[in-house]
Symmetry: D2
Subunit: 344 residues, 4 copies
């Protein structure tokens, strides 16, 4: 059975494991204050063209999201996001656990629309009863989105304009940003994220690391005492260097970008195979995720050999299955899938 249901089925890129081996018995201070973390921070600042950025490393995505949001909001404020947003749908209320409501907006292919955001804010601040409602306090979006789609640079700029108008920090969840950066036709790069987001994450877990997300704050004064927040949320890894070593490896020699390209190229082959068969896709994706619409018969045939993730059933009986490639997907597995698709 070939697993293509997510992008975290394997361990880590071999270079990362090798580096962990090489440094294993070195002694270092804990909690992210070691030299590896410092060097990884420097590499990330450089890749983002954000020389002053504060960079912290957390173990996982839910933890990173919840910590950033809790650190950014006042108690009576909420985080605006697309109604498909990960924080809204798939984090078991981790944001609410810190006391904050999520304010979902309708989404288009997983993306937040600037006009909806503008309308929400304008309506809130014009409402004489607004003290009875949760105040919009920040904006969360993911790039790529939950639907595998990407914002264009212009879309992000327009969202940022609305954020500025209402003094809302913009938080971009980049759990899969490695695949977004490498997507065909992508016009958003790390320096764009650093310019357009007040805080964003660069995901390691899904892009070659064992685990780990880098939280980047281009203005280092954005969240003073953020490290207290990490500890309070249980996210301060004792052997913090494990995160430093991994991100150092990913951001040396362009590895992070290479891993992204690898997955995106293989996804492109799958997309082409789907198109050849006339199999529709639910969302117009260009990065590493594909949401293909199969008939029950097609699904049954494919699931004899492949594992995908169920996304939704359509009214006509067809199903949407998510197919993921990753840094670890082999060309052979993709060839096998393309062959299977050709036989449908």
């Amino acid at each position: 059975m070939i697993r293509m249901e997510c992008d975290y089925s394997e361990g880590a890129h071999p270079w990362i494991l090798q580096r962990l081996l090489d440094t294993n018995l070195e002694q270092s201070p804990g909690y992210g204050t070691d030299g590896y973390c410092d060097r990884a921070r420097e590499l990330i600042r450089s890749a983002c063209h954000a020389p002053q950025a504060a960079v912290e490393f957390l173990v996982g995505g839910t933890q990173a999201n919840a910590t950033v949001i809790a650190a950014s909001l006042r108690p009576y404020q909420g985080a605006v996001c697309a109604d498909t947003g990960h924080i809204h749908v798939h984090e078991t209320g981790a944001v609410e656990a810190a006391g904050h409501k999520i304010l979902p907006l309708p989404s288009l292919d997983g993306k937040l629309l600037p006009q909806d955001l503008e309308q929400l804010c304008a309506a809130h601040f014009a409402d004489p009863s607004r003290e009875h409602m949760v105040q919009p306090g920040m904006v969360y979006l993911s790039h790529p989105t939950e639907c595998g789609t990407l914002y264009t640079r212009q879309e992000l700029e327009e969202i940022r304009k609305v954020c500025d108008r209402w003094s809302l920090p913009l938080f971009i969840d980049g759990a899969r940003c490695g695949y977004g950066l490498a997507a065909e036709g992508a016009d958003v790069d790390l320096p764009d994220l650093a310019r357009l987001a007040h805080v964003f994450t660069i995901g390691g877990t899904k892009v070659g690391a064992l685990f780990g997300e880098a939280v980047v704050m281009p203005d280092p004064g954005l969240l003073p005492d953020f490290r207290y927040m990490i500890k309070r949320h249980g996210g301060m890894l004792a052997k913090g260097r494990l995160l430093g070593i991994q991100f150092e490896t990913l951001f040396e020699d362009d590895l992070y970008r290479q891993l992204g390209r690898h997955a995106v190229e293989l996804a492109g082959q799958i997309r082409a195979a789907l198109q050849r068969q006339g199999i529709p896709q639910r969302f117009p994706t260009t990065a590493n995720q594909i949401f293909a619409v199969f008939t029950p018969e097609q699904r049954a045939r494919l699931e004899e050999s492949f594992l995908f993730s169920f996304w939704e059933g359509l009214p006509d009986g067809r199903v949407v299955l998510r197919i993921c490639t990753s840094w670890a997907t082999s060309a052979g597995d993709v060839d096998a899938l393309c062959a299977a698709l050709a036989e449908l």
Copy 2:
């Protein structure tokens, strides 16, 4: 500079890294539902003589403590602990972040006394104004304690009796339990923990793993839906098998116990060297931590070559420094320290 200031300065036992390498490109389901986690659960159940136990793996200690406590209490309840307890002093309010007060009791050498616990509970439940106070809802203790000391089996039994009398679950934080089990004269073993605690942790981070704490609930019905709580607290590792692989390795072939013995033996050599020099110890420890009382001159001499952790200053100008051994401490480093002590 030889680091002996804590027990998490190095990476992981080589067998663990090897196992991570061996399994690296295998594909597995996420979030702790893989075969490695299942096998690790089975090995832990067996080591604890708790065949029905629910076992979950979390990344770190603060996370494990906060999640267990939040899962155990009703909102108006607090966790009773020693005033030196890690949750009270060194977790940046992670328990309070979930809405719970900590109810500290005076401690003796880091240990909670059953009579204090009894008195607190008796006083609370007899107080006609008790609804104006936080209700004791569970008991937290660590074994070994923050002061490196160990409870005797009888002490734990007496505490458990008080817990039973007041219907309080007993939670034992075993972040360093590997060293406690191996301590000289220790009479508390894993099956004792499983018999006496309602829930306890077995620490990996400080005892040979890269990271990871096993949460063990001998009665699997104790905290239904505990996995929702893990996710809500940001503690559900995507590549959960990393935890399974590590704990599987630690609990095969008695590795966990061997690592504990190694550290304890080396700590014993340091204790003997201190005694030979007449250097007092602040707490009567028998596991891997030593709290030695040095004069400023002694401290300065030692700190030319060794890194310890500062514990407290005494009124007479002397200082208490914590010396830790671990699974990774080398005999050579301990010899060097003993030689340095002999020259004081």
Copy 3:
């Protein structure tokens, strides 16, 4: 200017003030443990045919809702409600402040549909990834709803059936229940609420009291230690007897029911006047709230003499205004409004 924009513009029914005067210098114990509270509890138990019910008095509605919900849920659970629900829209995140997500369902005229509730629960508990989502933990509805409508007895029975199937407590917010009980054709009475809800409130603030909501739990074992929760949420009134005296007055001599009938009769006159003019109503209400659809010109004319509350603008330029009657509305004011409507 005649205020009809809400049902809490005046003070209290004169009998209540008189009773406060009569008892003013009596001395009583605090925090709801006095004889007035006890007697009010007894009267409410009797009116509800719930002889065992636990009854507590809180100052306000948001406080009552947040306290009941926080007391009812486990941390990873959420409260299901209509997307128009007061807790979701107009309580500034008081439920989220206690760490709980609200799970809104589409509503029809402000009412929750049992089939939507069933579907949500069935989908959640069938989802293999459910641990990544907030678990439905209780159901909240208001009667009358935010849209002024009423559930029929059968509708409540069907919702309760779904609740029972999924073991969800049903919480009915009766902030305006006095008007609901008295509505034309209403077939839900207090004993129905006590039979169908696990916990419900009887609102005083909007129905003749200065302030105060009674929380009724027909099964007194439902929320043990609920009074700790009241205190924790800042809702335990020092001079608790103020609440007891008010509810005692309301539930003696059928006053609560009379006040409800008064408002409902006057609302009926306004509804008739609207119908005579062919002015549509946004929701089919029968209690004390009317949501009338006016043209801008009509609105301008009316607002020269009357204060209503703005509900929403319609695409065609018309506006929905909420008109409320209450226990304190005078027949003269309603006559004036009917006359003004007749002149439109």
Copy 4:
């Protein structure tokens, strides 16, 4: 039985009830936006010599404390207070419910010492591991204290100096400040509170009102959006004018001060009677609370006719009982008590 166990056994000063009666059927907007609240704000600003102050009215003390503290702190910060502080001991964890640890300091007669505060802050901010600990984020004290004692102006000035040095807002809980202002030899007046506290409360519940606490922020920009916080904490009274009317009455014609003086004078008579009998007092109080040390025999005799509140048992078998006077205490009751004391 004469109740002297607390200062909230009766209703309200007759002038307040009369004013409620007089205004009962007036219509006013809700939630504290009415003219009575505005006028009460103006009277309080004037009494405090704080012409710009923001003033909000909340129903109760626990609510006011929890709301102010939650509005003032960042999530990783705690509130420093005396270990006897009401928020620490008698509010069922309302502060922790908002996610904040309380950092208690040893107290002398219920008072916080500036040097302890300085030491706590200096130690925290000098500690390289401070990110693992809750950061001191504000200072809470009550005046009068839980032990009935008063800070001198100089003591408050010294505490404020420490607060300024560490940028900590100072919050003074004035639940009983009416009695503190009127105490014999008191040198702290409302303008002092307004000058020395960043935020303070003026208690109505215990000083002549039915209920209500005024929260005063001399700098109106201190807590922007504080009213959202009030709503979120369930503290926004629908008929907010009830609070406005009460505080207007208290601050017109010097009533608040008169009520304070009345209670303090009667307390002085009781203190004199105790001294004549050689009955010691546990704390050196000068306002409306007395903590008298009785033998069991004395206690039994007194409790035949009087109700006091039990404070603590002493090792020698004697007990400390709290005796309270209030605005409502009658001279006759005090005479009776003095006579009873004289017969001991």
